[in-house]
Symmetry: C2
Subunit: 727 residues, 2 copies
């Protein structure tokens, strides 16, 4: 089997039957917008303040062309055109003849061109104008397509809808006998002592010869395998058995062993014709009832109990510390391992164990899931539906059927993918879908049929789960501290506090004159600093919240410092409160982890492309397996008030920890005062412990802030500190 | 095609390979228990106070035998053994040779015996011991089978588990070319102006000849049809189109037109070989959001909105007034149209528009659904799962898959079946299943794949829906009046108030000496008068509740009268309160309608077999489309208290109603006092109206009860009356 890359160029036309007059070099995988912009010499779109200039491209047919060039196929060989993904609706033509058509960017294309193409033939991919539903503006335009809704504009994403070949695309010369597809399914005995692996090899045709498969332990040792003579069936089923399997664990819970399934096809003489290699990590994922959830409600007329949201991996309940992952680029075609790896390493560095791949964005490329498999980061995968009432037309449902099956097939082999979810916020008012919506019922069906052992959520939030808030202080003046203290949710799957990008980044995005003071116009508005979210007209810079606590800033540096402090302290309060609510609460997944282009302000803890904000370090502090923690009811304190902090030890480590002594200090102006000492007894694995409440009358201060510091005598790595506002 | 009934006999053996020594005549369809009891001369089980004597039968293999007797098949004919249902696990043998085996009572059996049987052959059906899971007692024994859980003992049902041939069973001689199956699916245009019917005819083999289909309007007129020459396919797809279809409506909303689909198979000479006739009623059923449900919740962290529970038929929202249907006999094999018809007529008579076929009982025979189609009674069909955590073994899931597909196939053609539901109370603590349970995900999948246009509920209650209470006054002293006043549920799918059978019936069930006073023993206990339900040790007679209001009764007549009064007034309060909560509330479905054997007391409004209790008349009053209604906070009043009643006009009629005047009277001892008059303006179709609150100080009385009477001047058919307790 050999592969040939093609030399692509691209042009546009308002009529698909009319060949463009001008072609420009095309980067594949990529997007037509990027190719055209490059040819035109426009600034990178992420620095461009004229995003509107891309708009006309949406209405065009974009025509990719490449001249085929390949050596004589020889005997028993066939020529395939393979694309892992073309966005969104397209035709494939060879020398003017249409050989294929498809709607949907997640379903790979494999076309046997042997009969249609010759050396020198012209291959064309005609990409249709982007799908637009109705005459709405914004996300509702995505209501009738399986296209990431975020591209139509979001509170952190410009209206900029990618188009074109976005995944690896090449010619492939294959033997006329080859493996078309390798799939597998496994079950693990209830006591985890044995894995039964069923594999299915689909050949392109029934043929004679030999099929061999071997399952290799990560050490390289063959665990099980078989070799069979082929006969009249093009589909061959086989099994492997693994006793005492080394299971795949999320990080901080164990290792990430990946077995290798090696399948090879041999001819009658034993010569290798084709082979496939597939990594497999064995794990059992379940959603089980949250502790206490069976005990409510109690009163007639009884309704149902809250659905299960506690993730159990390999029989162990795991408190999810996670973050919402969005596409790391407006154009998913340009993202790959280079973009994914440093970001996922950041997730590891912050002690996160799960990324929720949010349904507004495109499903990532395989390398994302490979990295998560290797690094022990669990994935909650939304299907590409978000905040819309998707239509029930047969056309949409057919496309969703095809696309969801492709997504399941591509992601199912990854042990890291532990939860399927129908999409984002679909059962809420602003979307309008319900349990009866056919799209959701179909996704349940497809997941159940093809990956029945991985949990499926119809959407998020479901009953008992919380999304929000997204502000440090909401429009009614309620602080995030207070919001979570009074909340009782089985899982917090989105919650956020906004923070600005660094001054350096801001400076790179706009003229000096625009930088300060920020105004609701120009780059500040385009890049989501003002009016980005309907929940607060000041989102996401939230200037008046900063002023409420710290007064008017005198420079961009001061403004950014205060705003980043709010984000940091807000995230600490939220993550730690969610952890304190364990075990009734089972997940803390903030909104959001990263961002697809440089926003001036956003709930993300990492600025584009991979630049941690101070809040990243705050999240990292709050997500350590073991830490001293303070529960404080509010952020801002005045002279004479009685400051209160409830001391806690938080622990979700695998092992018990020794008792120790926490000392609590207040740092007021330049003075540090010892306030309280607490000896805590040893804690079991995964046990939290509530401690005493310290009280201290706030004196007059010069500074606008003060700090609470918790020091653990023998374990300074468990120390924590919190900053509060004095006003 | 000709059918032959068989002359069956039955015997038992502890070893399926050993032929029983004794056979007794078998009534088919029926149950082995009934055959044996008849032969032994036992009393009817419904009068028998020794139900334990049936217990040993559960552990036996029951062997049915019949000698085949048929004329020479002749050329081109084949002999089939057909059974519409055998309960539960069984083998079929011909002359000692096993020709078929199955687990599951809802999947029909069709076996081609042509090669195996001759005139005079011995046909045997070997029914296995009943399925029992674990060593539990009661419903949990049903955890691993698709067998009605009610048979294992319930608060209104004895532990008595039917076994044997329960549906029509016969020999059939068919042409060697015949129609194996006719199925159809239809879609209705959004504006209801057109139906597209897809039909699929499966022949037993590809053959030449002609296939013709015609769709006939209820008037007999042919609406659409076609005739095609057969060729190489055994499966033939066709379509029919109906413009301006006459839609099927629930009663009081329109007519119940049934079209007829007639499919005929002809040989090359045009001679009729086989035919099928299928009634079809066209309707569109949806569950849509309850009014107001999108407006809650409002506060962060936001959870999902409550799921839709408002039934919309043909675009019209319909307030469901319904009742829970249980199998009308302990042995479903003996129930048929004769049992169903009078009961369904009672539902019609009480203005009910829906019966929920509860998942603890067996799915009914086809005549039940035919009658509902004809009489305009909608059906909510539970799958046969109830109050258990069904196992996830592959064996159970395979059986459930097969059985659910059979149930869907059998019921889907009925327009009356407007809701599928996974089963009863599965997501509650006492069951322990969740949204992640494979059984539920599979049912959702099967319904979506085969009947996607009918709503599916995973279970009931779902979020926002209420089940209970089941008492007039609960163990904490809360009256049902109060319970519903403070409740806010999207639908009340079960709620009940217990009441005893008539004195005549009670007398027929026990010795005179046992009759009064009732004690927790003997027939009173066996037949659910005491300790029947864990929610109240006194259920269902609830003697101390009766004594609480009316003191100790002096005779069985007095006791029954007071108890039936409580049931009647309780049901009025509950049904009318649910109606007042419209439109946020969309359903009032009481527990329960009928009962499977004579209970001494039960929440049913109809005593076995079809004997309406006084509460039936109360429900009938409260479910009239239009009525004057009083909202009163409690049942029992004392001298000097201020009696209050909020007046309402309730209207769910199709048409607006004229304004009128209600006069409210109190009947205290023998005196009637006018208290309040209320002129109400005209009401829109389906509009309720809240009126004034009347107040009246309770004087001293002699009687233990008093009445509130509402009279509507021009419409005495809207009058209502309520009885209260004076103490």
């Amino acid at each position: 089997m050999s592969r040939y890359n093609l030399d692509w160029k691209v042009g546009y036309s308002s009529d698909p039957s009319v060949r463009p007059e001008r072609f420009v070099p095309a980067s594949v995988p990529g997007a037509v917008q990027l190719d055209w912009a490059r040819a035109e010499g426009w600034p990178h779109y992420w620095q461009d303040s004229s995003i509107e200039r891309y708009r006309w491209m949406e209405d065009m047919y974009w025509i990719y062309e490449a001249e085929l060039s390949f050596e004589d196929l020889g005997e028993n060989k066939r020529l395939f055109f393979v694309s892992r993904g073309i966005d969104y609706r397209f035709l494939v033509r060879v020398d003017g003849k249409t050989v294929y058509g498809q709607e949907g960017m997640f379903t790979p294309v494999e076309i046997d061109l042997t009969e249609d193409a010759d050396d020198g033939s012209l291959l064309q991919v005609i990409v249709f104008p982007i799908p637009v539903f109705g005459d709405g503006k914004g996300r509702s335009e995505a209501r009738a397509s399986v296209k990431p809704a975020v591209s139509y504009g979001w509170d952190f994403h410009p209206r900029l809808v990618p188009s074109g070949i976005w995944r690896e695309t090449y010619l492939e010369i294959r033997s006329d006998r080859h493996i078309r597809e390798l799939s597998f399914n496994y079950t693990i005995d209830e006591d985890l002592s044995r894995v039964l692996l069923d594999l299915c090899v689909e050949l392109n045709q029934a043929c004679s010869g030999l099929l061999e498969w071997n399952l290799l332990h990560p050490s390289g040792e063959v665990v099980d395998g078989q070799s069979i003579s082929l006969g009249s069936d093009a589909i061959v089923d086989g099994t492997c058995e693994v006793h005492d399997p080394d299971l795949w664990w999320p990080r901080e819970y164990g290792d990430q062993p990946l077995y290798l399934l090696h399948v090879s096809l041999h001819d009658e003489a034993g010569r290798l014709i084709d082979e496939r290699k597939q990594n497999i990590g064995f794990r059992r994922s379940r959603l089980v009832m949250n502790e206490g959830a069976w005990d409510e409600p109690q009163s007639m007329p009884l309704t149902r109990n809250a659905p299960p949201m506690t993730l159990e991996l390999n029989g162990r309940r795991i408190f999810v510390k996670g973050s919402n992952w969005v596409a790391p680029d407006v154009f998913p075609g340009v993202s790959g391992e280079d973009a994914y790896r440093p970001l996922i390493e950041k997730a590891v560095g912050a002690h996160l164990n799960l990324l929720r791949c949010w349904g507004g964005s495109a499903v990532n490329k395989p390398s994302f899931y490979d990295l998560c498999d290797q690094m022990g980061i669990m994935v909650w995968q939304d299907f590409p539906l978000a905040c819309n009432d998707y239509v029930e037309s047969p056309e949409y449902l057919d496309t969703l059927d095809q696309e969801s099956l492709s997504i399941i097939k591509q992601l199912k082999p990854h042990p890291s993918v532990v939860i399927w979810c129908g999409g984002n916020e679909l059962f809420n008012k602003w979307s309008g879908m319900t349990d009866q919506s056919k799209a959701i019922r179909m996704l349940n069906r497809n997941c159940f049929t093809h990956d029945p052992d991985t949990p499926f959520l119809p959407t998020t939030p479901i009953m008992g789960v919380g999304h929000g808030g997204y502000l440090f202080r909401d429009v009614d003046g309620v602080e995030c501290f207070e919001l979570f203290r009074r909340a009782r949710r089985s899982a917090y799957v989105e919650f956020g506090v906004p923070g600005p990008a660094s001054v350096d980044r801001l400076s790179s995005l706009m003229e000096e004159s625009e930088l300060f003071p920020p105004r609701e116009s120009g780059v500040w508005k385009l890049r989501h600093g003002f009016g980005a979210w309907e929940g607060d007209p000041e989102s996401w810079l939230c200037v008046s919240t900063i002023e409420y606590y710290f007064g008017r800033s005198e420079s961009i540096e001061e403004l950014v410092e205060w705003a980043q402090l709010l984000q940091s302290e807000g995230y600490k309060a939220l993550f730690e409160e969610a952890r304190r609510q364990k075990p009734y609460c089972s997940m803390a997944i903030n909104w959001c982890f990263n961002e697809p282009w440089p926003a001036v302000a956003n709930n993300s803890i990492i600025a584009w492309p991979c630049d941690p904000k101070p809040s990243y370090r705050a999240v990292k502090q709050s997500c350590r397996p073991t830490l001293a923690s303070a529960r404080v009811k509010k952020f801002s304190w005045s002279q004479g008030e009685m400051f209160e902090a409830e001391l806690w030890m938080l622990n979700d480590a695998l092992h018990s920890i020794k008792g120790d002594r926490i000392e609590a200090y207040l740092q007021l102006d330049d003075e540090e005062t010892f306030v309280l000492g607490w000896y805590f007894d040893s804690l079991e694995a995964d046990e939290n412990r509530m401690g005493p409440v310290l009280r201290f009358k706030i004196p007059e201060m010069l500074s606008q802030s003060f700090r609470l510091v918790l020091r653990v005598e023998a374990r300074p790595d468990w120390n924590s500190e919190y900053t509060f506002c004095y006003r």
